[in-house]
């Protein structure tokens, strides 16, 4: 399913957070949304998830305006993983992941066999099968983050929007998470991740959208977008884009004066 926004404008309080943003993400690809703090990455994801109405412009999924989707129907197609890792009650990890199946359960009907499979698969995908019975509030930050990713995966979305899904994860789990995203994309899903880790973006994302002050200033393949001039102009850093053993890396060496 294609995600597309045109001329998106969002004003929060007195600040214009998005000013005429054109953005698109396609099925079969992992798309990274990158940009400095306050560039509008989270706001873009919230608009696409239907949580925020833009004051101008359009946002559509599969060619259909987001406001025209039924919330339940949208929740079966699109999963949104917020940046805040909030769990308010001492639910077990499995119970948290099971919340991802709510859009599939008619009122008063319990968990189906399909729900059970989706939950087990989601837990396995983030290497957390052994954590299933543990209360989420007793877990480390990284473990909890993985459980929350699993909740979004259990939703079995055609479009997955993940805001900083790798933050706080150890390197092994960061890599395996992005391998999983790549596999999902190969299966025809549309994956959109907001990221600060430019190396992860360069290595795993088919397409990168670079945002600055509410606009997309560049979009394309990692090698096209992550040029030294652009990173200097947008992030104010001196950075190198290189490949090491065939793996692209971006290394920020200094802050520009």
């Amino acid at each position: 399913m294609k995600v597309e926004t045109r001329g998106l404008r969002v004003i929060l309080g007195a600040r214009e957070v998005l000013s005429g943003l054109d953005f698109s993400a396609h099925a079969g690809e992992v798309t990274a949304v990158i940009g400095p703090n306050g560039a509008g990455k989270t706001t873009l994801l919230r608009v696409i998830a239907g949580l925020l109405r833009p004051s101008a412009g359009t946002a559509a999924i599969d060619g259909r305006e987001i406001a025209d989707w039924q919330p339940q129907a949208l929740a079966r197609v699109l999963a949104y993983l917020p940046q805040e890792r909030v769990v308010h009650w001492a639910l077990s990890a499995r119970a948290v992941v099971a919340l991802g199946r709510l859009p599939y359960q008619p009122l008063g009907v319990g968990e189906s066999a399909a729900d059970g499979h989706a939950i087990a698969a989601a837990l396995a995908a983030v290497d957390a099968t052994h954590l299933a019975a543990r209360p989420v509030l007793d877990m480390s930050g990284g473990e909890r983050a993985r459980i929350l990713v699993a909740r979004a995966l259990a939703q079995e979305p055609r479009v997955l929007l993940a805001d900083e899904p790798a933050a706080g994860l150890d390197p092994a789990h960061q890599l395996s998470l992005f391998h999983h995203f790549t596999r999902l994309a190969e299966g025809g899903r549309t994956i959109v991740v907001a990221l600060h880790d430019l190396s992860l973006a360069a290595r795993f994302c088919h397409r990168i959208v670079l945002m600055h002050k509410g606009r997309a200033v560049a979009a394309g393949s990692p090698a096209d977008v992550l040029t030294e001039e652009r990173l200097a102009a947008v992030y104010g850093i001196h950075a190198h884009y290189a490949t090491l053993d065939g793996v692209p890396i971006v290394l920020a060496t200094d802050v520009l004066p």
């Binding site: 998830a49 949208l74 308010h88 001492a90 639910l91 077990s92 859009p103 299933a132």
Partner: protein, 331 residues
């Protein structure tokens, strides 16, 4: 309802079944205990009179009001994602108490007996409208807490004013006693007056379970799971207002049931808000029925009001909660 998550502990259906049986037992206990023994000796007519006019309304009100308090406490804690929330927080009990106090103050009680509960209902309705207007349909938990606090404060201030201005000491005593809460001397008329409203409120609150489960992950994630946040907010406010407003209108303020019951049952409900709703509804009924029976057993020695008893049990529980919370937060 979801199936048991395989984490051990009590199975959801077992929990509800056990609580339902206990509720029924407490209800029967409440019907069968009182100063007048209904055993051998009492004539058939006196017996049915005592049963229909005294015992039955008292037991029905005890069960329904306990259920309303327990359920709305669980719903509010789930909606506000705060284990310290309780029904008096929304301001409707204050409003109901003010309405009843005004009915006494203005002398309406002498004109017709139902002025008390009707005044309470009117007060609860006004309080609920004020809270909805102040808090708005959209908005976070904080605005709701603040709006409820504001309305409660106004109600408390006006109750004090009515007491202050009261010329008649008997009326003042009546107001004070009424605010303390009591299940004694209630008739079936009061049941007919309040029960339908409480049942509607209970019905509304029982529909928000899924939404409260989703809200465990915060408002954005819940909305992303298809939850209608505005509808949930309205259901919680209206349901609590109807259930607790109608309850307060006939019995006065009964505190702490809505705080303690969800707290005590949460571990047995696997911390799941949707399961905690029916569990707390039954648990609230059990607590109030048993407390009321205890009062009647104590009666020869002490004439206690039920609101006073629940406060006597509840306040130390609150202290314990503070100590436990402090221990959890300690480094």
């Amino acid at each position: 309802m979801m199936a048991a998550s395989g984490t051990g502990g009590v199975k959801p259906l077992h929990l509800i079944a056990v609580l339902a049986v206990a509720t029924l037992a407490a209800f029967i206990l409440s019907l069968s205990i009182g100063p007048a023994g209904l055993g051998i000796g009492a004539s058939g007519e006196a017996r049915s009179l005592i049963f229909m006019e005294i015992r039955l309304p008292r037991a029905i009100l005890g069960a329904l009001i306990g259920a309303a308090l327990g359920l709305s406490g669980a719903a509010l804690q789930g909606y506000l994602r705060n284990p310290l929330a309780e029904p008096t927080l929304v301001g409707v009990s204050g409003g109901a108490a003010l309405g009843a106090v005004l009915a006494i103050h203005l002398g309406l009680l002498q004109v017709f007996a139902l002025a008390l509960p009707l005044g309470g209902l009117a007060g609860a309705a006004v309080a609920m409208l004020l809270v909805v207007v102040l808090a708005g349909v959209r908005g976070g938990p904080v605005t709701l807490i603040l709006a409820g606090l504001a309305v409660s404060s106004i109600a408390t201030a006006l109750i004090s004013l009515a007491l202050n201005l009261s010329q008649n000491p008997f009326a003042a005593v009546e107001m004070v006693f009424w605010v303390m809460g009591s299940l004694a001397d209630r008739s079936l008329t009061q049941v007919w007056l309040s029960a339908p409203l409480m049942l509607v409120g209970i019905g509304l609150l029982l529909t928000v379970g899924r939404a409260l489960d989703a809200l465990t992950l915060g408002e954005d994630a819940a909305a992303g799971l298809g939850t209608d946040l505005a509808r949930t907010r309205l259901m919680v406010i209206a349901g609590t207002a109807l259930a607790v407003g109608a309850a307060t209108a006939v019995t006065g303020i009964i505190g702490f049931v809505g705080l303690i019951v969800p707290h005590a049952l949460r571990p047995f409900a696997q911390h799941r808000p949707s399961l905690l709703l029916p569990a707390s509804m039954l648990g609230g009924a059990i607590m109030l029925l048993v407390a009321d029976v205890a009062l009647r057993l104590m009666q020869p020695w002490a004439e206690l009001r039920i609101g006073v008893l629940t406060a006597l049990i509840g306040a130390p529980f609150f202290v314990w909660l503070v100590i436990r919370t402090r221990a959890e937060l300690a480094p």
